[in-house]
Homo-oligomer: 230 residues x 2
């Protein structure tokens, strides 16, 4: 009953599913996610259109699977970066910077995969719960790094008020009393700032301006990680 104990048929099934998804990604890279066509994928695989219905119930299931894989990939990239950082003896700011760079590297490796998660939302689409859980897993790795960086409580009254708000809305961080509000705040800044600079880069808004996206990204990383314990 282990994952390896598969019949040849099951193994083959899974292999074809993977090939279908790979072609799907190629198609998305070429013409966008909305243009994804089951028939076109089948043709590229040398089979007839209806054959794909042996592997996916319909088009929506394939897309959901792609989104799930995208989340899974980003979560794994985060985990791998955190582990490597730990092995290297980093913590605090350097650990946060490592996560940031892992995020950018993952996004640059396949921008369409990134946009499938964080791009224009598909009207009417709601991610199934297991995908939400993967997103939570990702956030958990980030929260570990942020908590370990020992961020100071906000100095300004506005900042303190914001942390008060976060104290009331802690559900998204899971049941983790060790993660204090300054860490929540740092994690949210990490997420939204890096997403901001990264999505502008991936969409090409900087290249038209003659700016170097890598330096803009590093500048934001610096604001998040500089002077943190580690």
């Amino acid at each position: 009953m282990t994952a390896d104990a598969k019949t040849p048929r099951e193994r083959y099934r899974q292999q074809v599913r993977e090939e279908v998804k790979q072609r799907a990604w190629e198609q998305i890279a070429g013409s966008g996610a909305s243009a994804l066509s089951l028939n076109a994928i089948a043709k590229q695989l040398g089979m007839s259109g209806p054959a794909l219905y042996r592997y996916f119930a319909n088009r929506d299931e394939l897309i959901t699977e792609l989104i799930r894989d995208a989340y899974r990939g980003l979560a794994d990239a985060f985990t791998a970066a955190a582990d490597a950082s730990a092995v290297a003896g980093e913590a605090g700011g350097p650990r946060i910077a490592a996560l940031a760079r892992a995020m950018r590297g993952w996004a640059l490796a396949d921008p369409h995969r990134y946009f499938l998660i964080y791009g224009t939302p598909v009207p009417g689409y709601h991610a199934p719960q297991d995908i939400t859980e993967i997103a939570g897993e990702m956030m958990s790795v980030l929260l570990d790094a942020c908590a370990a960086a020992g961020p100071e409580p906000a100095a300004s009254p506005e900042g303190a008020a914001f942390e008060g708000h976060l104290a009331e809305r802690r559900a998204w961080a899971g049941d983790r009393p060790d993660v204090r509000e300054p860490a929540l705040r740092l994690a949210l800044a990490f997420w939204s700032r890096l997403h901001g600079v990264l999505s502008l880069e991936l969409a090409g808004h900087f290249t038209g301006m003659g700016l170097d996206p890598a330096r803009l990204f590093e500048a934001e990383v610096h604001t998040l990680s500089a002077g943190r314990a580690g």
Copy 2:
């Protein structure tokens, strides 16, 4: 030859064009930009499909027009907010905060319009030059506010190095020697941070977490505008 000296036919033409665009927006709001269909728009307007070709050369021209209008709208919102802020006697931080809130208000009024500019890029699409110019006009209003806020040069070596990079890549700011590098830096932070928090909000990533997007936005506005001359 003024804009008002229009023949009735020209006036009617323009009016129908506007109606077409309005229906196009409604359709985008309902099923996304990629599902925009000329035939469906025509049906909603009570005319046959081919009739639209009297008003738009093809589907691409209509989409480009929508994108142009979106940029125009955001630029106008910026200008209006800057003017109102000036009338109110604000400058520095408050002026920057006013621009930020104008940006959010504009985006919330029609999220799809926002995503048409800043969402997932359409593969192969390149905006015509006049659209780039509108983007520059928008940036110019932002730069005015940033320069007037008198931001201090970066304190850290990394920050200084970044400003050195910006000094070499000033083309996007136009020929404006009055705008120093700290102002460029502030404008880029404004743009990327607010886009980050705003696009996560519009895509619904916060609501699932139980967070209040308005407070997250204001927290970022605070980092950009607090303690600035004004």
